[in-house]
């Protein structure tokens, strides 16, 4: 691990990390452009980097992006990133009361504490989990994928039916091309362009960048009418502040870490849950929504704490919990690295770099967010009319460049339409993406298990861990029935709709 820290301090990776954090904060500030979108866009170009530099860049963008949304949420009451949605309420109210620096400082303090706490969780929890997972056979791995998919479907909320359909649709679209188990060409429907299958990058760029730009164009007339001028007064928080909000920070960090570990939950829900919990436990709940310092700290600590939590299932089980993990998975895959327990043995330097860059990126983010906030705030004034066309050009280059195939650019457009279509019918996109990524893995593990058992499905019932996981998957499937409701999202994750009804456009 020490080697990874020392490596990150050498000029090239250090510069990459600074660029990544800066870019992440910048896209976090710009409403309509998300860190996930930027990560998907830079993913093809990481092919030209070493694997450790590639993950350093992506982790830095991830951390910067999660944090940057704070600025727009506080000064404009628009979440620059969706996870800053709760910060809009109290951050903006405090800024409007004449304390924008204080609001930004508290949010920044919460972000660094949440990030560092989640780093500790990553360091402490990931290695033993990986050690345990290394003993798993194909049946256990298959059962883990099934549980991950069921979890992401049930936590997407609203409609289990649509969630399951989205996951299966995603899995089905991952099948065309050469079957890696037998070498058989399948499901190309007579189009030789499909012989190589659907590459992950045009799929992700289409789903999350193209469709987001189109959605933002739809809302391009949204104006910021509630802007507050930034100032630096109060941006530096004192030790007393950390002491006063210590318990809140610890609790919010734990919520963020737990929410990060669960596939499909992510930073937005973590900040909502943390905000609600802080309000319920606060001595002054009436202050929430009116510029409460507790509220800002709770929301910002929790969303940054998800960054470490979300890396735990990715590194130990190879299960991506959301878009950013999916991009990281893609980056590792294009460098011929398979996330999962074996990564710890085969490429420990990559694992250590991921963990080290997670901590360093938070420190760099904290420094930039403290000294550069005035500069970042000016980015909010940039017209989206000049940014969106450039993003679309990047989308086309990103989709095309890895395989030099024009077909991939069309795949990107097609998946942009799929993303818009699913969003239009309010089918959750997260299960679709995770289904696309994990479908081939589920098939590979099931077929390996069947080959070892001579085609006997019943063997999975003789493996206690696999059986236990399948029971969990079944319970998740039956959860809405057991609760006597048809709503999938747990009540604890809910919050009054009017509390989070904010101007759209936060990307």
């Amino acid at each position: 691990m020490l080697d990874a820290f020392i490596y990150l301090l050498t000029p090239q990776p250090f510069l990459i990390m600074i660029c990544g954090v800066l870019l992440g904060i910048m896209v976090g500030v710009l409403p309509g452009i998300t860190a996930g979108m930027l990560m998907a866009l830079v993913l093809p170009f990481t092919y030209y980097m070493t694997s450790v530099n590639a993950v350093t860049l992506l982790i830095s963008i991830f951390v910067g992006g999660v944090s940057g949304g704070l600025i727009t949420a506080t000064l404009m009451r628009i979440p620059g990133e969706p996870n800053a949605i709760m910060t809009c309420l109290d951050g903006h109210a405090l800024a409007k009361a004449g304390h924008p620096g204080r609001a930004l400082g508290l949010g920044n303090a919460g972000s660094i504490v949440g990030g560092v706490m989640s780093w500790f969780a990553l360091v402490l929890l990931a290695p033993p989990l990986a050690k345990m997972a290394i003993a798993f056979g194909p049946w256990e791995n298959f059962a883990i994928v099934v549980v991950a998919l069921m979890l992401i479907v049930s936590l997407s909320g609203g409609s289990m039916l649509k969630g399951m359909m989205a996951a299966l649709l995603g899995a089905m679209l991952s099948f065309p091309g050469v079957d890696e188990n037998s070498g058989t060409l399948r499901l190309n429907f007579g189009f030789h362009q499909l012989d190589a299958g659907l590459d992950i990058m045009p799929v992700m760029i289409g789903l999350f960048a193209v469709s987001q730009v189109i959605a933002d164009t739809l809302n391009i007339e949204q104006q910021d009418t509630d802007r507050v001028r930034a100032n630096m007064r109060g941006i530096l928080t004192s030790f007393r502040d950390y002491g006063r909000h210590g318990w809140n920070m610890l609790r919010s960090s734990l919520i963020g870490i737990a929410m990060g570990v669960l596939p499909g939950v992510g930073a937005t829900i973590a900040s909502i849950v943390s905000y609600t919990t802080a309000k319920n436990l606060s001595a002054t709940p009436e202050e929430f929504g009116k510029g409460s310092e507790e509220a800002i700290v709770a929301a910002e600590t929790a969303n940054n704490a998800t960054t470490g939590g979300t890396l735990i299932p990715l590194l130990t089980l190879g299960i991506p919990g959301g878009l950013t993990d999916a991009v990281l998975l893609g980056a590792l895959t294009i460098h011929n690295l398979q996330p999962g327990p074996l990564l710890y043995i085969k490429s420990p330097q990559v694992v250590n770099t991921i963990i080290a860059s997670h901590l360093f990126a938070h420190i760099v983010m904290f420094i930039f967010m403290t000294i550069g906030v005035m500069l970042f705030a000016r980015l909010m004034l940039l017209s989206r009319a000049w940014i969106f066309p450039t993003i679309l050009v990047f989308c086309v280059i990103g989709a095309y460049v890895l395989n030099n195939r024009g077909f991939d650019a069309w795949v990107m457009v097609a998946f942009g339409l799929v993303g818009m279509g699913l969003e239009f019918v309010r089918a959750p996109l997260a299960p679709f993406l995770i289904g696309f990524l994990l479908g081939p893995l589920a098939e590979k593990e099931l077929r390996s298990g069947l080959m070892s058992s001579g085609g006997d499905y019943a063997e999975i019932l003789t493996r206690p861990i696999a059986l236990g996981l399948l029971v969990v998957a079944l319970l998740l499937l039956l959860w809405p029935v057991l609760r006597g409701k048809r709503r999938g999202i747990p009540a604890a994750l809910k919050i009054d709709a009017d509390v989070i009804r904010l101007p759209p456009g936060g990307g």
């Binding site: 309509g32 969706p82 997407s156 409609s159 039916l161 649509k162 969630g163 399951m164 299966l168 649709l169 899995a171 089905m172 099948f175 079957d179 188990n181 037998s182 058989t184 399948r186 429907f189 789903l207 999350f208 469709s211 189109i214 959605a215 164009t217 739809l218 809302n219 391009i220 007339e221 104006q223 992510g266 017209s383 009319a385 000049w386 969106f388 679309l392 050009v393 460049v401 030099n404 457009v413 279509g421 699913l422 969003e423 239009f424 309010r426 959750p428 996109l429 997260a430 479908g439 098939e443 099931l446 077929r447 069947l450 080959m451 085609g455 709503r487 999202i489 009804r501 759209p504 456009g505």
Partner: protein, 160 residues
Amino acid sequence: MALGNLGFGLCTLLASSLVWFEAGKLRPSPYDPLGAGAFPRIVSALLALLAVVLIARVLLGKNIGDAETTLIAGFDGEEVEHRRRPWLALGVLGSLVAYIAVLTATSAGFLWSTIVFVAAMGFVMSNRRPHDAVVAIVVGVAVGFALNFVFTRILVVALP
């Protein structure tokens, strides 16, 4: 929304049927009990079953429910204070398709296609005042030349 849900159900039913029949043409090898076609058939059969359930619920007027989380902000049907621009969004999508078609099917080249695309899209998305046209051209030329230089000279990447 019922019509949208019905469309979603029918589209997934059609897609899963296509995959089911196509996967049925694949035969397993003696060493692989499942074969290349079995898993796609399992998935497509499950998807078709769920699609039928969804269609039936829509036709019976039962509640389907909607996702409560979103990864793409701005498509929700909630009322907003600003004017939405569906035709602009469609125009941008159409222009993107045209841009890709020009890049992949003609010899216009990346530089000039990009300048025209960025300038035209920028102007259309702006307030369309005369000085926006000048800014659009400047941005288009700057973006076109900068990206062309970065990708062909620094990263040495083949552009479409």
